[in-house]
Amino acid sequence: MISWVAFRRLGLVLFAVLLLARLGPNTAAWAADALPSVQLNADSISPRPIEELTGKNIARDYAYAWQTLAQALDQDRSELLDGYFTGFAKETLSRAVADQKKSGIRVHYIDHGHKVSALFYSPSGDAMQLRDTAQLEVQVLDGDKMVHQEQVALNYLVLMTPAADRWVVRLLETVPGF
């Protein structure tokens, strides 16, 4: 004979297990929805200094770019890249989304933040080159099967250019080191 207290505990445990099981596949979506942290350092930028507002906008827009990148890869939706990517970066990432749709191999990023240094700001203010050290958890999945998982610090060379109301990523290239 099971007591009422034990029955309730069992019920709670079952509920927790079901909740976790329900959340499991969606944690990726949750992670992708969060805006990653971006710390921008513009102390060594040249040849022109960065304006205070531009610095804030760059950090904000770069964070949005990573958020939309993660969402585009999670949801197989290349149109999500339109907001914060352009030019070669958009072409490259759109190809990646199309490829993963076709092959069933997906890459999932869990973003733990970016330390960004501004390197070059063109004299006319129409291009900015950044160096980003990104702390990422990278998961490669074949369907539902995870074939690779790693915690890694990746170095990115980034080129951002101004668009109508924001800065957009024109080039996002992983490099071995700086």
Binding site: T86, G87, T161, R170
Partner: protein
């Protein structure tokens, strides 16, 4: 019971019709049809103009034998797609200026509702006693007629081809024009704060400009933002200067710490024509006792200017901009035909004015 309901609906309908008639000025119109006084004669005439009853209005004229009916109608309803053609007579005030047994002068202030806002038109009308009633002696419409001619035009025009969306990022584009705010002066009025100044196109290409001002409070936080809207010449040719005026109703100068100005410019196709001469500019007092700057506009090109707007900037003895006022011309500027204009300014400002400059905005159908 069924008949009662039908009667009730009929009565209510009648009531609504009556209310509509009264609110649309029907009562007033009915009252003034008799025209037993000079004022009533003018009121009756203007009531007919308001209701577009041109035949009856024309019949009320004392001198209708000397005036062409269509000219009379064009005088009041406009022509050549002028601002008057986009207007309606919203109301009028009438008061006697001079009265004798057979003749009188009545002043009418016509309140026009136009596409660019309300415009007042003050006219002094002669009224004659004819038979048992008074009739208006309408001034013969002086509608300009341009004689057939060929006006050679060799005007400049700028067209713009921008970088296409498919072009590479590094592909060269044409830069936006360089414009500069050359003066800015906040002026406090009893009901508002006004930012006045001038902007110049420093470039060698035409610019479409707009000036915005953001008022910052004592903590440097934005408290209000407004644009120059139509109180500016938006299209500036190279080295052209335009006044601008930005109004902040309900704000006092002491409430703000500073003003952030923002001049936006775009490269646009434009034409260097028409050239409009502004002649006979002088400060005087109008029929209503207001200080005005008046003069004449002369369109030197061969195309009519449908709607013209004068923008006047006034300077004090130090060359500082102390006022900007504007006025729309309700008739079209036909080629080589002078048209009168007047813009008003407050009496206290008029006392300080040492110099002024008038620029003309023009809108022609089919032209940019």
């Amino acid at each position: 019971m069924r008949y009662l309901l039908a009667l009730l609906i009929f009565a209510v309908t009648l009531l609504f019709v009556a209310v509509g008639w009264v609110t649309s000025g029907g009562l007033a119109r009915a009252e003034i049809r008799s025209a037993s006084t000079p004022t009533e004669a003018v009121q009756a005439l203007l009531a007919d103009v308001q209701s577009h009853n041109w035949d009856r209005a024309y019949a009320r004229l004392a001198n209708n034998k000397d005036i062409d009916r269509s000219a009379f109608e064009r005088d009041l309803s406009g022509s050549y797609r002028s601002l008057r053609t986009y207007s309606s007579l919203e109301g009028f005030d009438v008061w006697p200026i001079h009265a004798a047994s057979e003749q009188a002068v009545v002043r009418a202030n016509l309140h026009w509702s136009t596409a660019v806002g309300p415009i007042d038109d003050v006219r002094d009308l002669k009224v004659e006693h004819q038979g048992s009633s008074w009739k208006v002696d309408w001034p013969s419409p002086n509608l300009p007629k341009v004689p057939p001619q060929v006006i050679p035009v060799n005007y400049l025009r700028w067209d713009v081809i921008n970088r296409g969306p498919e072009d590479d990022w590094g592909e060269q584009n044409v830069d936006t024009p360089q414009v500069r705010i050359i003066s800015m002066n906040p002026v406090e009025r009893p009901d508002r704060l006004i930012i006045l100044g001038e902007i110049v196109n420093e470039d060698t290409v035409p610019a479409y400009v707009n000036v915005n001002a953001t008022l910052l409070d004592q903590h440097n936080a934005p408290m209000s933002q407004e644009g120059s809207f139509d109180k500016i010449s938006h299209t500036l040719l190279p080295k052209q200067v335009s006044p601008y005026r930005i109004d902040f109703p309900g704000i006092k100068l002491k409430q703000i710490k500073s003003v952030r100005m923002d001049a936006k410019a775009m490269l646009v196709p434009a034409s260097a024509d028409p050239v409009i001469e502004v002649s006979g500019q002088r400060m005087n007092t109008d029929a209503l006792g207001k200080k005005v700057l008046s003069g004449e506009l002369l369109n030197e090109s061969g195309q009519p200017v449908n709607i013209a707007q004068t923008l006047a900037v006034f300077y004090d003895s130090n060359g500082r901009v102390i006022w900007v006022s504007d006025g729309y011309i309700d008739q079209a500027l036909l080629p080589q035909t002078p048209v009168h204009f007047a813009v008003d300014l407050p009496d206290d400002v008029a006392a300080k004015v040492q110099n002024y400059h008038v620029t003309v905005n023009h809108y022609s159908s089919g032209n940019s």
